[in-house]
């Protein structure tokens, strides 16, 4: 634990130093800022970047990249952050936080593309990425060894089509993956090719053996389980994107614990209809008591009580997507209008305050490193 903390401190220090040097150029910067939040973003002209920013909303690095990224993660040991291209993207950008440079681009194999999500194993030896074996229309989990250069060493089935967000449970060997169920092929861009037959699932996979440990299906075939967040207690909260009619009253949030079936959480009808059948990021707070879920098509964030398993409240934020849970129990959110926002649940109310607004369009996910 002490070692982990030391590494984190060293990492933040290195990151801050690099960012300070890289971003200098006479621009005002807070020397004490820790740029330990990362996200992909676009500028107003549609150019893609990988980026870092501080809790105060100050812009850190902003490195141009060819493909639009989706989510990101970090390896403390290797002092690297990874940004994953979204479907049908074929690149993962590896930023060395000491040199402050794009150190490597990992390219998908010719018959694979990425889905924008991944995680680093607890021993920090491997990077796991959700990928599409588009010749066979099957989801796979690619395994990459983290060394001087990063190479693919293995892959295993994701046990579904269109694997999206993936995360590791506390046993450090079970991955939970949201197989969204949507079949796509790079020749057809982002078009969904199997709407009539789609079937999403939530799968638990042993990352050592590649075996399926448990699989849960949503009650409606058009429910695409896309995003998830795992509490310290291994409670998995999932966010759904429903592919059916706008007026269908379908739950968009579920909670699952291994061995149980998914409990789908009710939401007041009028609030549910406003969400436009779409959730973006899921973020369980540090205590594991609440989950915040961003709903950019409804221009709001929604709060859910995980102990009582119920909807709690919502707050309006335009085009909100990225969410990060802080140790304090608060969240940081990002929006497509360049806002960095603090979100708190206090005095029985979900309150939001804009920390900063930058001339960027923050993409779907933000990560605390």
């Amino acid at each position: 634990m002490q070692r982990r903390r030391f590494l984190q401190t060293a990492f933040y220090g290195a990151a801050s130093t690099f960012l300070w040097n890289a971003y200098g150029c006479g621009q005002a910067q807070n020397e004490n800022a820790q740029f330990n939040l990362i996200s992909g973003c676009d500028d107003q002209q549609g150019n893609h970047f990988v980026s870092a920013f501080s809790h105060k909303g100050e812009q850190g690095f902003q490195i141009p990249v060819p493909q639009r990224v989706h989510d990101s993660c970090a390896s403390v040991k290797h002092a690297k952050v990874f940004f994953f291209a979204r479907r049908p993207g074929t690149e993962v950008y590896v930023i060395d936080t000491v040199s402050g440079k794009l150190q490597q681009t990992i390219y998908a194999h010719p018959d694979r593309h990425f889905y924008g999500h991944g995680f680093v194993s607890d021993d920090q030896r491997y990077l796991f990425l959700t990928e599409n074996d588009f010749q066979h229309g099957q989801g796979v989990i690619g395994v990459y060894e983290l060394g001087e250069t990063i190479t693919k060493v293995s892959e295993m089935s994701s046990f579904g089509i269109g694997p999206h967000q993936i995360s590791l449970l506390s046993d450090k060997k079970t991955a939970v993956v949201a197989n969204g169920g949507l079949l796509t092929h790079p020749d057809k861009g982002r078009d969904v090719l199997n709407l009539n037959t789609m079937q999403s699932n939530l799968s638990y996979v042993d990352i050592h053996s590649g075996k399926l440990l448990e699989q849960q299906l949503p009650p409606h075939s058009l429910m695409s389980i896309r995003h998830l967040s795992v509490s310290k207690q291994d409670q998995v909260v999932v966010g759904v994107q429903y592919q059916g009619e706008k007026s269908d009253l379908i739950p968009l949030v579920g909670v699952h614990r291994r061995g149980d079936s998914i409990q789908w959480l009710a939401c007041p009808e009028q609030v549910l209809l406003q969400l436009n059948q779409y959730t973006a990021s899921v973020s369980v707070n540090a205590q594991g008591s609440h989950a915040l879920i961003s709903c950019p098509r409804g221009n709001r964030v929604t709060l859910w009580n995980l102990q009582q398993r119920r909807f709690v409240d919502y707050a309006p934020i335009k085009d909100v997507a990225g969410l990060v849970a802080l140790e304090s129990g608060e969240w940081i959110a990002t929006s497509g209008y360049g806002e960095v926002i603090n979100i708190q649940w206090k005095q029985n109310k979900l309150s939001t305050s804009i920390i900063s607004k930058l001339p960027v369009r923050w993409d779907n996910h933000a990560t605390l490193i």
């Binding site: 999206h164 609030v271 209809l273 098509r297 085009d319 209008y337 369009r361 993409d363």
Partner: protein
């Protein structure tokens, strides 16, 4: 020496011309430094128009309440005539709603009121099913009970069922309660728009950091309405959203009253009003100010072609999609709406430098 300095300063400031200059400077400093632009004028003109349209919706809904009362209180021998009048007033209220249906931002969305006014699409016929269930569970019906019930039975789709479906036209208590609820909701939305308009639009339009969001919201709503017309109002009955791809007239909006095409016509006329508004600064004027005459003409031509395409369909939409010749006309209209959508999204948004919602429109 000091007194003389004060005196000169007072005289300088008191000069009316200089006074105005200073005042303008102070105002622009206070509101955040951007001077009024043509685009701001257009946005404020549209928001003013929205306020007026909300007023019309509240008014038509109030008149509908009276028509429903008259119908319910009329003796049996004059019932049909009173029903016809109530149906006509429903059409007027529906037209007022279709005029403003595109506005899915501001108080209507923040207070979750849009679904209360109209529950649609309704592929599973929830309106009829929930009505049956509600009637079984409630002997006495009041506006308060309706306000607490499912949004499915609160609005204008419910009133259509109660006024146009022979199985429901005797449900006067429910009819009046739903009418009162609609009237109350539309009044509240109108009032909320008036109360928030100044703060949210007039003052904020000069704040550069808020302006992009406001433009994005407004323009995004216009685009979303075109997509709604194309995908839901036309694509639904054409069968493009079904697994079997078979046309289904029951998937058209307002099929019970045969009002589907009239709704679309009103939607397009509402857009045309944003494009050309004799009373206000309009989109064509804005485009001309940006030397985009050709684009303005393309928009006007496209709207005119869409209006012609609607007029060419001589059958109610729910029937037109089941006959090959008229189905082709509906498919043609579908294509025309798609063209307008593309024109707005690809050309007009670019010329106006509009930042559309990033994650809302193109997330994953």
């Amino acid at each position: 020496m000091t007194w003389s300095l004060f005196y000169n300063l007072f005289n300088w400031v008191a000069d009316p011309v200089k006074y105005s200059t200073i005042l303008l400077f102070v105002i622009f400093s206070l509101v955040g430094c951007e001077q009024p632009s043509e685009k701001n004028n257009w946005i404020l003109s549209v928001t003013d128009r929205i306020q007026s349209d909300y007023g019309q919706l509240a008014l038509e809904s109030e008149i509908l309440v009276s028509s429903l009362q008259q119908y319910c209180n009329t003796d049996q021998d004059k019932k049909q005539s009173a029903l016809n009048k109530a149906q006509n007033q429903w059409r007027s209220a529906m037209a007022a709603w279709q005029q403003i249906q595109w506005v899915r931002f501001g108080p209507i969305s923040e207070n979750n009121d849009d679904w209360k006014i109209q529950f649609w699409p309704d592929k599973k016929n929830l309106v009829a099913r929930k009505t049956q269930q509600f009637l079984v569970e409630n002997e006495e019906v009041t506006q308060k009970k309706i306000a607490e019930a499912s949004v499915v039975i609160q609005g204008i789709s419910e009133l259509e069922l109660l006024l146009f479906d022979p199985n429901y036209i005797s449900q006067c208590q429910l009819l009046q309660a739903v009418g009162e609820n609609l009237s109350l909701t539309t009044k509240q939305i109108h009032q909320a728009w008036i109360e928030s308009h100044d703060e949210k639009w007039v003052q904020s339009i000069h704040q550069p950091e808020q302006k992009a969001e406001m433009e994005g919201q407004l323009f995004g709503a216009l685009l979303a309405q075109m997509e709604r017309i194309k995908l839901d109002k036309l694509g639904g009955p054409l069968g493009l959203k079904n697994r079997n791809k078979k046309p289904n007239g029951y998937f058209s909006e307002s099929w019970r009253s045969n009002h589907s095409l009239a709704n679309i016509e009103t939607n397009i006329n509402a857009f045309q009003g944003v494009l050309v508004d004799p009373k206000r600064y309009d989109l064509v004027e804005l485009l001309l100010s940006l030397s985009q005459k050709e684009l303005a003409n393309r928009l006007l031509d496209k709207v005119s072609q869409i209006q012609d395409a609607i007029a060419a369909i001589q059958k109610p939409l729910n029937k037109a999609v089941h006959q090959e010749s008229t189905k082709q006309q509906v498919a043609h209209l579908y294509g025309q709406i798609g063209d307008l959508n593309s024109l707005l999204k690809n050309d007009v948004a670019k010329v106006l430098n509009i930042t559309l919602g990033f994650n809302a429109n193109d997330g994953d």
